[in-house]
Assembly symmetry: C2
Homo-oligomer: 376 residues x 2
């Protein structure tokens, strides 16, 4: 087939990210299928499979014969990236050699048979009734807010996943590492067709999916199956495996009352944590709230210490002090697209509750305190 | 003293690069001296010492008391980088604590006594007669062209250095790894005062010096001493140790005749090597020159091969084939600021000679062939 280098690069980039760096055999390859009406590119690391469809109605493609091949992804991508702009001709012969011709450059790559390559069965969820539609941008924002709170240790595999729950017209995601932090948030379903259900998706896959989904104002269809979940847009089809097991209940972790509440400018707070973080052994930062000020204190043994002060936008309740892990606080604040944040102090041994200031946002973040040191 | 954050960042950045990542004790520190007329910042890894001078005539500094300190460089740099813009107050107390105050931020860093910190004696080379002046930009370009050809193995320490030779009004640099490649080039001395001499400088230091020297159209004074060499600009003073020993003669390595000469567009040639490089086992690339064309061929076992063709700008002499290490060819071409390059073929077992097309450039690069494989 003939295809423009631009479109070829774009298509390969879409699926390339799904490939693992250290995969061998067929999974080190990228699947290409040229059909009558479309060219399909697919990459997979077993846990996550990504497919991109380029339509021949796009005048940048001309297909002569139907066919498919799996070819070494890393080499294919590097070569295409380095070709001069213009038309690229891809041909596959009977010995499974993919030849790539562009201008004065001719590359031959040994391919593999596509028979064993991971396959994504297509279903019409309007018929099966196991899917929902959500806004692509809302979905990406929800994942960013929640997925970072997953556990990264394999001790309890279920906690390395994010819980997805569909109920009524709400999609809710929840993640926790079971020790320090918990995050949750919801978005509205645009077209649910009465479906309700739940699934636990590997957090690393969800974080990858945020990067994979095109930045657009369109919709994503999420299709639930017993063992997989699919995210479908016009040109993309992303399939992730699920983590088996029951996600632990998290609702009872959220404190129902608080003794103090402050409201802060997120940007200034973030910059301030960033500064004190330079001298924070074990990421430990102590917060002192008194009157209308928040003071952060941290130190590094034998090197020095830092103190920084920020004026609060608002405060209700008593003064308080608490020591927290600044790393988790900083990574949470980085995911919040808002000017201000509400922080509730619920006691020296209970979690801080981070909440949006605006009523129409639905996320919530819990951060457990660190045992306080005597001298800071 | 009071100093603007901008100027402080700039000063620290200048000397920070000289510090090694894994240095301990006093050398993990950055030296700061506040005098009556200037603030001096200094960083050192013993082999290379860099000093930057900020003048108090610059209204961005106000000094209250003379004093000096050595403080933990990594922490200092990170903290200053993260401060808000504005004025920074630096104070040193008798316990060698450096306190940094800026806005609502206050940092205390444990310092070290500056007594043991590497020192650069200053001399006036107009009196000692051991120095030369050259254009800063020409010097940087010369180093880029030559220093990459140094050996990186410690087998023959002298070859990890670059030979500098001052004779008449020429500064000549030469480097070779003793096996595959040799590079040499010259620039004019602007103000030599009759000095002639030579030195061998660690190649890694020269490469660092290119990054350290400000991009400007000014002059650099190079001062030769028996054990050190200094590069001096208005605000900077960079001192490198020398490698002891006699640099081997290299003039006899350059072939005096050739059987074929081609002229190529550098940019196209570079892009072409970059492409074939994707499939080049052991960086091996075969060049075939026939009629007015250069064909490059390379391959990766079990993956595939690539062939690429480029039309020559000019050719004199016979057709030829030679196999070379593409990595060295590519890194050389990246250092040449010119549209075209002249390549001389001097025989299957002799080096390729790379030369400028323009007569007023003086560099020369030799690249020995690699034993050819039977099947490509």
């Amino acid at each position: 087939m003939h295809i423009s280098r631009d479109l070829l690069i774009k298509s390969i980039q879409h699926v390339f990210k799904a490939l693992s760096n250290n995969s061998h055999g067929i999974l080190s390859g990228l699947y290409i299928y040229a059909g009558n009406e479309e060219v399909i590119f697919r990459g997979s690391n077993v846990s996550l499979t990504v497919q991109y469809k380029a339509c021949i109605t796009d005048s940048k493609i001309h297909i002569f014969n139907e066919g498919s091949i799996v070819c070494p992804a890393k080499y294919l991508y590097e070569i295409i990236r380095k070709l001069n702009d213009g038309n690229v001709i891809l041909e596959v012969n009977e010995q499974l050699i993919l030849s790539i011709t562009s201008g004065n450059t001719r590359v031959c790559l040994s391919g593999m048979s596509p028979i064993d390559y991971p396959f994504i069965p297509t279903q019409d969820h309007q018929q099966t009734g196991n899917g929902i539609d959500v806004s692509c941008n809302s979905l990406k924002y929800l994942i960013k807010q929640v997925a970072g709170a997953c556990s990264t240790s394999e001790g309890k595999p279920i906690l390395t996943g994010v819980s997805l729950e569909v109920q009524g017209n709400q999609l809710t995601m929840t993640a926790t590492d079971g020790v320090i932090r918990m995050a949750t948030g919801s978005i509205c379903i645009k077209n649910g067709m009465g479906f309700s259900g739940s699934a636990v998706i590997p957090g690393v896959n969800l974080i990858e999916i945020v990067k994979l989904l095109d930045d657009d104002h369109g919709m994503v269809t999420i299709q639930f199956s017993p063992h997989e979940i699919r995210f479908i847009t016009q040109n993309q089809l992303i399939e992730s495996v699920l983590i088996e097991g029951l996600y632990p209940p998290t609702r009872n972790l959220v404190p129902t009352s608080h003794v103090s509440e402050i409201i802060l400018n997120i940007k200034s707070f973030r910059q301030m944590i960033d500064r004190v973080f330079v001298l924070a052994d074990y990421h430990l930062i102590t917060m002192h709230v008194s009157e209308k000020k928040l003071e952060l204190i941290s130190s590094t043994a034998e090197i020095g210490d830092v103190r920084d002060t920020l004026f609060l936008e608002d405060k209700n309740g008593v003064n308080f002090s608490i020591s927290i892990n600044g790393k988790y606080l900083l990574s949470t604040l980085r995911c919040i697209e808002s000017d201000s944040i509400r922080i509730r102090f619920t006691g020296t041994m209970s979690p801080l509750v981070l909440l949006p200031v605006l009523e129409d946002s639905t996320w919530l973040f819990l951060l457990n305190p660190v045992m306080r040191r005597i001298n800071v």
